[in-house]
């Protein structure tokens, strides 16, 4: 449309491929390739092996994966509950109240994750709430970090919601709780699913706050990837990274399937 000549089109596409392939496609391919090899001293990896994967689904690595999954699921569910509640409450408030509430819940996005980690560490290493050294401090920090994203996407969905539905239900005599449970929440279900997927993916890959907080017995997968690459085991790290990416993608895929089923309602 922009370029009509044949050569012009091909030049644009060649330029696109030249930028896109080495910058975006190659990094992911390289990690997958490295995870299946034992050496990389030339142009290409050598020594094909699946040993990194057999190690990745055992012992410490398997424990890190379940740690990450449990953390991500717990943090996403709690964040989704708090974020949705706040979004529903702010939608019912006046313009000023809504702006204050939205700003409060958006704040964790702007604050660096490392600082969120530091703040949680400082606050919960002292009485009355002593959580330092337990798994709860990691889950708490993840919840704080993803709540903002849950709130953001749910409140965007509430703004797009047609008020006719709830008005119609209310005019037919439905109680407010009935309107919320049977009209509003079902209409919001696709957005809630999308928000859950987003929260899960963010929590699975969270490293910054986790590095400040993790206790020795609650080691999420990103931390394990860091410690193994830091030790020099780049190939083990790649295999773990592929496991992390696959787990995230599978969860996102499952969530998007629920979404398509929900949109039939």
């Amino acid at each position: 449309m922009l370029v009509h000549s044949r050569t012009g089109k091909w030049t644009a596409w060649a330029l696109f491929a030249l930028l896109f392939v080495p910058l975006f496609a190659l990094p992911l391919l390289v990690i997958v390739a490295a995870s299946f090899s034992t050496h990389w001293s030339g142009a290409f990896p050598s020594g094909p092996t699946t040993a990194h994967y057999t190690a990745a689904v055992r012992g410490e690595s398997l424990q890190a994966l379940t740690t990450s999954l449990v953390t991500a699921v717990t943090a996403s569910l709690v964040a989704l509950t708090i974020g949705t509640w706040a979004a529903l409450a702010s939608a019912a408030m006046g313009k000023r109240g809504r702006r204050i509430l939205d700003a409060l819940f958006m704040l964790p996005v702007a604050v660096p994750s490392v600082v969120v980690g530091l703040a949680v560490l400082v606050a919960f290493s002292q009485p009355p709430l002593l959580l330092n050294g337990t798994r709860w401090i990691v889950i708490l920090a993840h919840t704080v970090l993803v709540t903002a994203f849950a709130h953001q996407s749910v409140s965007a969905a509430i703004r797009r919601l047609d008020p006719m539905y709830e008005q119609a239900a209310a005019s037919l005599g439905a109680r407010p709780s009935y309107v919320l449970l049977r009209v509003k929440l079902p209409l919001l279900l696709p957005s809630l699913n999308a928000a859950a997927g987003l929260c899960f993916a963010l929590s699975m890959g969270e490293l910054s706050a986790t590095m400040m907080l993790y206790p020795p017995d609650w080691l999420p997968l990103p931390v394990l990837i860091f410690t193994s690459t830091d030790r020099g085991s780049l190939f083990t790290g790649s295999a773990l990274a592929v496991v992390l990416m696959t787990a995230t993608l599978l969860a996102l895929l499952a969530v998007s399937r629920i979404r398509t089923r929900a949109s039939f309602r």
Partner: protein, 290 residues
């Protein structure tokens, strides 16, 4: 966390009589906002206030501001963030232009791939760059194979340039997404008219597309700027002692040196920078309608 769970658990059950015109007559709407705000205050605002309080320890600010490592980190953080943002804007604009206006088979798949790319953690990029441009990586391997030299010429990974490359790679999709959304709303007839009146592609980009894309560029750019200022994983995985940014300094002061007062001072500076910029971003993106 136990308390957060306890506070959050009733959320599922208490949510039923949610906000509505009818309850607002008996219970004002702001009462419904109290429980989530209370949770947020306990797990986020109170800890943040403690950080500010801790940073006010006598002499902490003077000590940190006087140290060379802090000033270096501040300068490195800001120039890396500004340079990465500029790189992301140029690259994102160019790539989005091709996807939107020079369509090719598979363009939809590329746009999907970008969405997926966004859901991966940033440190994977640095890990990949180690295999691509590391001392024994692909690029150096090709070089030594071809020329027979003992070492390759690509030794930039542990310098700020390696961090810059990783940040541009990781954050460019964050610019492309709003741009693609803006481009899909652009009236293509405008382009056809401009083209039929004899405007060449570069002129169409400058005079028709760029003005339409400016709000999306501003919104995407300021978001990326904030995220670059806050980026930690990329710098940590680079493992370079020469590259210290503010988040890295917070981590090393708090965890490696156990100097919490200094860590809190650096944290306050970093938060002031990022939140200031984020307020700007919200203003810009609200005007852009994004």
């Amino acid at each position: 966390m136990a308390s957060a769970v306890r506070l959050a658990a009733p959320a599922a059950t208490d949510q039923e009589p949610g906000p509505s015109p009818r309850t607002s007559r008996s219970i004002p709407a702001w009462v419904w906002a109290l429980p989530p705000v209370a949770v947020l205050a306990l797990v986020f605002l109170y800890p943040l206030a403690l950080v500010v309080q801790e940073s006010l320890a006598p002499g902490a600010y003077a000590d940190v501001f006087a140290s060379a490592s802090f000033r270096d980190a501040l300068v490195t953080t800001v120039w890396l963030a500004v340079a990465s943002t500029a790189g992301c804007l140029v690259l994102g604009f160019a790539l989005a232009l091709v996807i939107a206006f020079v369509p090719f088979p598979g363009g939809k798949a590329v746009a999907k791939f970008i969405d997926v790319f966004l859901s991966f953690p940033s440190f994977l990029i640095t890990l990949a760059l180690l295999f691509l441009y590391g001392t024994v990586g692909m690029a150096n391997g090709v070089w030594t194979d071809v020329t027979g030299d003992a070492t390759g010429p690509f030794q930039f990974l542990t310098t700020p340039w390696g961090v810059l490359l990783a940040e541009i790679t990781y954050f460019t999709p964050f610019v492309m997404r709003p741009l693609l959304a803006a481009f899909s709303q652009l009236e293509t007839a405008q382009l056809e008219v401009a083209s039929s009146l004899g405007a060449r592609p570069l002129r169409i980009i400058r005079q028709v597309i760029l003005p339409e894309a400016l709000p999306a560029l501003a919104a995407g750019g300021s978001l990326v700027l904030v995220m670059c200022l806050n980026e930690f994983g990329i710098v940590l995985f680079t493992g370079a002692k020469g590259v210290t940014t503010l988040p890295m300094l917070v981590y090393s002061k708090a965890i490696l040196e156990s100097d919490y007062a200094a860590a809190c001072v650096v944290a306050v500076v970093n938060v002031a920078l990022s939140v200031g910029l984020y307020v700007l971003y919200r203003g810009v993106s609200r005007r852009a309608g994004a």
